[in-house]
């Protein structure tokens, strides 16, 4: 079976310090996978490598079976992402930002308008669609970034801390959005520091520590936070690190 996203034994050093040390990860269609880890575990570097922002020193990343190093650019039309900063230029309105992101992914005009209308409803941001992003709150700019990740109707999304700055109602909206997305066959990879949120969104939780996935947990088991720390501690003891 072809995975929507497949990270195979990826290694990457930055300034001579190993950051990813044999990262393996898969995300399948119809599932949401969460990547959790302490600060400095390598999450940001892992996402950058998966999205072609950094080249791996070794290993490979495949999206729908195609290596991103040699695939045609069209492949990215099937991928949406919100990493680090939302797609939100202050001089453009929320609607213009979302539409621009969708068109850069190759979406057509009619589909873009439909998507913006639907995403505006789900994320409770319709009243702010025609306001310049410079005047939007941090949370609303985050909604713009989320809408920009979904507006071209991708089948794989990569979302870094997607609930940053969102109010509780928008968090519920995002959860509905991801649930509907995976129910329709989409594949999602999210990162988060909030275990209760991860438990509600993800089908599987991968624990990233010191550049590798150390364990994969079911989110519905008892006390996810405690199991996370047990895995991290066990990895440190096994490697003789403090």
């Amino acid at each position: 079976m072809t995975h929507a996203l497949e990270v195979i034994d990826v290694r990457r050093s930055l300034r001579a310090r190993p950051v990813l040390e044999g990262l393996d990860l898969t995300v399948d269609a119809g599932t949401c996978r969460a990547l959790v880890g302490l600060n400095g575990a390598g999450k940001t570097t892992a996402l950058r490598v998966m999205l072609g922002m950094l080249h791996p020193d070794s290993g490979s990343i495949r999206i729908h079976g195609q290596d991103i190093g040699s695939a045609r650019g069209d492949l990215w039309g099937r991928v949406g992402h919100l990493v680090e900063m939302p797609f939100s230029y202050p001089e453009l309105t929320a609607r213009e930002n979302i539409a621009a992101a969708a068109r850069l992914h190759g979406a057509s005009g009619l589909m873009v308008q439909e998507s913006i209308r639907d995403l505006g409803d789900i994320l409770r941001m319709t009243p702010w669609l025609d306001i310049p992003a410079a005047r939007l709150s941090l949370g609303t700019r985050q909604k713009v970034g989320l809408a920009a990740a979904f507006a071209h109707r991708p089948d794989l999304v990569v979302l870094d801390e997607p609930t940053n700055g969102l109010d509780p109602l928008a968090v519920v909206g995002l959860r509905e959005l991801i649930t509907a997305f995976t129910r329709d066959g989409g594949a999602a990879l999210v990162t988060s520091h909030h275990f209760d949120e991860v438990a509600r969104i993800a089908d599987q939780v991968d624990i990233l520590h010191r550049g590798r996935v150390r364990d994969s947990l079911a989110p519905d088991g008892p006390d996810l936070e405690r199991r996370f720390f047990e895995v991290v501690l066990a990895a440190d003891i096994a490697e003789g690190r403090p």
Binding site: T45, M53, D74, M85, F87, R103, L104
Partner: protein, 254 residues
């Protein structure tokens, strides 16, 4: 489906046309060029007995359109290079400074295409600004009583100088890319303006591509018109370097 390439060009054009920095640069350039050229010429002609008039008259080194054009191109030379350089540095550098660069990865449109779109939008704006400077300065010259004969030649010279100097600022887009922010590009722009003026002051202008257009437009110039290819070549090299740097761009590896 919409062409991602077309979308990249449309996005860069819209960002530049909406941005406060390009609007301020446009207005301040036009005002500065008009005030220094028309104001300087009028002061030299009509208040020659005052201290300011004597200073202004020293800058108008030939009668009629020749002197007026030289004054205009001196003003245009500095303002165009500075204004266009700052806008070009901002256009690229803001993506890094504001961290919006992450949204320009993982797209069907290659990053070299996005770099081309940025260069294209900035270059077209620089040419439109040059045309506006040329029109305003020429209209002001006619309003100050200069004859209709010679106006077209002056307008063309002012446009050519402004356009060449604006385009020759393109290497700052590459510097803003390599420096991952607009401060590097703006610093490079300031350095270009300072070095060009100092070199021209020492009589080395003909070996500095950014000084050649203004020297060519000066009365009694000794600059061969073929040397005007130098700033144009600098522009092409700047565009290609920017494209190359964007195609090889990595984030977090600095």
């Amino acid at each position: 489906m919409t062409s991602p390439r077309r979308a990249a060009y449309a996005l860069e054009a819209r960002k530049l046309s909406r941005a406060l920095v390009s609007r301020i640069a446009t207005v301040s350039t036009l005002v500065l060029v008009l005030v220094t050229t028309a104001g300087g010429y009028a002061t030299a002609q009509y208040s020659a007995e005052t201290d300011m008039g004597r200073q202004a008259a020293a800058l108008v080194t030939a009668p009629g359109w020749a002197g007026y054009t030289a004054l205009a191109t001196t003003s245009v030379g500095i303002t165009s290079l500075l204004a266009v350089g700052i806008v070009m540095a901002w256009s690229v550098g803001r993506e890094f400074t504001d961290s919006t660069i992450v949204g320009l990865f993982a797209l069907p449109a290659a990053r070299s295409t996005i770099a081309d779109a940025k260069v294209c939008a900035a270059a077209i704006w620089a040419l439109l600004l040059a045309a506006a400077e040329s029109f305003l300065v020429t209209a002001a010259g006619l309003a100050l009583g200069l004859p209709g004969d010679g106006a077209a030649r002056s307008a063309l010279a002012v446009f050519l100088v402004a356009a060449l100097l604006g385009l020759s600022a393109l290497p700052v887009m590459w510097i803003a890319t390599v420096g991952h922010g607009y401060l590097a590009g703006i610093a490079a722009t300031l350095a270009l303006v300072v070095v060009t003026n100092i070199a021209a002051g020492f009589g080395l202008g003909q070996v500095i591509p950014w000084a050649i257009p203004v020297l060519w437009a000066a009365p009694g110039d000794t600059i061969h018109p073929a040397l005007l290819l130098a700033p144009f070549t600098v522009a092409i090299v700047g565009a290609l370097l920017t494209r190359h740097a964007w195609a090889r761009l990595e984030l977090g590896n600095d």
